[in-house]
Symmetry: C3
């Protein structure tokens, strides 16, 4: 069994958006009991990560760390056409991830208690971002 | 065909544990000949990585690099409830990976000669960590 | 349905090689309409990344960033048997990725407009690198 559907997520500029509920809903819709759920982000200037989902300070601390680690407007970069956040967004993306795969168990997204699926926008401005969710498996129990 | 099973791994504090043999055994048990094996770690303060498996100095060098790169007790962080290694563990996790997918060929985990699957505990103290292994494929040759 | 095939890619030393066309060809050959495509690199001193595919300066900027971030010949490292680029290649690999999964839609690799699949050689010298591409899905539309 295969289920595939795309989602659009509007970001409001740099920062994270919790997409866990939207992906969970698709797993239930898929009627797949046991398998895997693949979430793919079609962009090179935003990431998908598993972030701790209880304390919002984890998100702001990750952002603070990344900002210090990959400075905007770094003189090292030649690819600066779209501004000081252009190349840093590509570096942030390559050093994190664009796609996540999660087990599906008993027709549920089988995440850890503290794991959420977050879209991390790296550009200063908001963008409409496209995700494709693919769920593979069967309808029997494992 | 789908095979899914969870494993518990006890860590002894910060450092790496080679999980390759346990995952390989599940591939053989699954009787799946050709497909993929997905290994998922249900935590936000430990990673799964492919590490060079021959020289233990690679593990200690990776740990030394990470310790310098993401200092424990960094004043930048606000999420410090569980100690100086709390937020660094989340950063280390986001900058590495929580899940790995490996081809399955002829009912074997098809890793490179020097690739092992390592669980990297980022917290100072040991924890019981949960993995879920999902294997998808069929029983014919590719 | 499952399709699996290995590829050899010759690298010319440190730098990136666009492998998108080779992987796309295998998706078409597989005749799989809807599913996922998993690309796996069997090495611990080279990476697979999604890189922006329009401006070659993105590749050279990523390389410049990584070179500053993980210096060759760093005194921190003990695993130096194969030279000053040996351990940095392992660090670069662990902080990026060895395998990528992409949705397959209408028998095409469903990448974003600006996303390419790049093999990033981290060693100074060229190597023959092995990839295994596994495509899972079915021949119906999603």
């Amino acid at each position: 069994m295969i289920f595939q559907q795309s989602l659009k997520i509007k970001t409001l500029g740099r920062g994270m958006i919790d997409c866990t509920a939207k992906v969970s809903d698709l797993v239930v819709q898929s009627k797949i009991n046991t398998g895997i759920c693949h979430v793919f982000l079609h962009h090179t200037s935003a990431s998908l990560i598993f972030c701790e989902n209880a304390d919002p300070a984890v998100q702001s601390d990750l952002e603070a760390f990344m900002k210090r680690f990959v400075p905007d407007g770094d003189n090292l970069f030649k690819h600066t056409m779209e501004g000081p956040d252009d190349m840093p967004a590509h570096v942030r993306t390559v050093l994190t991830q664009n796609s996540l795969t999660i087990p599906v168990t008993q027709n549920q997204l089988n995440l850890g208690t503290w794991q959420g699926i977050f879209l991390w926008e790296h550009r200063f401005k908001g963008h409409e971002r496209k995700l494709t969710v693919s769920i593979l498996g069967d309808d029997s129990s494992s």
